[in-house]
Symmetry: C2
């Protein structure tokens, strides 16, 4: 499994908040300024800046100052490590369920059909 | 995108800790008692119980009392919603990068080859 612990920590922690996931979903439809996000989420500028800061540190959002406006963009991280991590968890869980299924089927066979 | 917010919150928050991810990786290789996990991670029983409690509430680990031993198993949740969520983020990011690439290519074409 993936070893880049602090990066995984930051990304999963960033994703653990509905507002931050909402901001990512919004940015998926197009770049936004901090003030546009504040209006969209009914939050203060300070509140939005905090959330964007968490997303930025996790590499999920980049910001750029354009004139007097700070514009937020999705990326640059593609969540590759997080995808790999979750896929491994799912595979292991399924392997365990398969083994459990085989074990139960074997038990049923040894026991013979119920009359 | 997926609406089950508190469930996503719990799962991503549970995954945001390296020890908890380590416990899931360990359980992927086979069931463990709380005390086996404590030994494996060099932690107190209380410390392990706290982490297992977070994983259990997120549906990533189930525990069962077998005699005097509490046995931990992977699952029952398969992280379907989390996988969908991350896949959507990745797709949106790639679509945005594609559009950026097209935009840049168009600009280069209009400008003509550099002499």
């Amino acid at each position: 499994m993936v070893q880049s612990h602090s990066r995984l920590d930051d990304a999963f922690a960033a994703l653990a908040d509905p507002t931050r996931r909402g901001i990512l979903e919004r940015l998926g439809r197009g770049d936004c300024s901090i003030s546009q996000l504040a209006v969209a989420f009914g939050m203060t500028l300070t509140g939005v800046k905090k959330h964007v800061g968490v997303l930025e540190r996790a590499g999920l959002v980049s910001t750029q100052k354009v004139g007097r406006v700070r514009v937020c963009t999705l990326g640059p991280r593609r969540l590759d490590d997080e995808t790999t991590w979750i896929a491994t968890y799912r595979r292991q869980l399924e392997e365990r369920l398969d083994r459990l299924g085989e074990f139960l089927a074997q038990g049923a066979q040894e026991k013979g059909p119920q009359s």
